[in-house]
Amino acid sequence: MALNILVVDDSSVMRSIVIKTLKMTGLPLGEIWEGSNGAEGLRILQEQWIDLAIVDIHMPVMDGEEMINHLRENEQYQNLPVIVVSSESDPSKIEMMHRKGATFIHKPFKPETLKEVMIAVTGVSNEYTD
């Protein structure tokens, strides 16, 4: 199964870092979509099939927290795997993300961390097989 992935971050540089890391993982990737805030992310989700969303917290227009709230309120996206990649360091905010079913990765992060979390939340892995 190839993963269609949505990357939502207001920083084009951080989107580049995440997308480069995704390609390094060796995991089966389908389409990668980019949004620069939560509202754009939700619009892409309405138009495309997405298997995994990788989302920042602090963004203009609509932040990551509000985007995740919208996802969890919508039956269609209630179980969508979400990884939050953020420099947010407030434990109560991080705990809140966990309660909403999102896995948190703290910036700065190492590429292997994103790969491990992707495997854990999607169950997809093609490591060392033909």
Binding site: S11, V13, I17, H58, P60, S87, S89, D90, P108
Partner: protein
């Protein structure tokens, strides 16, 4: 505005500022510190600056200034590009400011909840001069790399929660 921050919190902010800056440069930019600053690196002219503002119980900003080729090296390393564009250099520096700011604001303490870190802003030298007057710098570090120098400062403009308490 109440910007009273006690010595322990100041020390904690400075420690976190140093540690998170070093790990951000190592993990995101693949740069490591040079053991000591060469004489000429002390006199390097300002090359670029970027700030990330935060809002919440506390408001303020993190400011990063680069000198001696750091601006290009940061973007080049992050994006694996030999010649990054000016926009890529600005974005890359801004992202570094953003990451470090997110790591440092938590040091403001349990009453220092920050609800928002704004998108980073690249500053011209003129803007930087004006910006310097806003808020108090509570911690500042200079990091010396083989690629150049980074000066990182953490500002606190005001403590909204303290003001509210005072008005009770």
């Amino acid at each position: 505005m109440n910007t009273q921050i006690d010595c322990d919190v100041r020390a904690k902010i400075e420690r976190t500022l140093y540690e998170s800056s070093v790990s951000t440069f190592e993990d995101t930019c693949f740069m490591y510190l040079a053991p000591e600053m060469e004489e000429e690196q002390k006199e390097l002219p300002l090359e670029a600056a970027s700030e990330a503002r935060y809002r919440g119980d506390w408001t303020g900003k993190l400011l990063i200034e680069t000198r001696g080729g750091m601006l290009e090296a940061i973007a080049s390393n992050i994006l694996s590009l030999d010649e990054p564009s000016l926009q890529q250099k600005k974005d890359a520096l801004g992202e570094i400011a953003n990451i470090i700011c997110g790591n440092v604001v938590i040091s403001l303490g349990r009453h220092g909840r920050v609800s928002k870190i704004e998108s980073p802003k690249f500053l011209s030298e003129e803007e930087l001069q004006t910006e310097e007057d806003i808020g108090s710098c509570v911690a500042g570090i200079t990091l010396n790399f083989f690629e150049g120098r980074a000066d990182i400062k953490f500002y606190v403009d005001g403590y909204i929660a303290a003001k509210e308490q005072n008005s009770d």
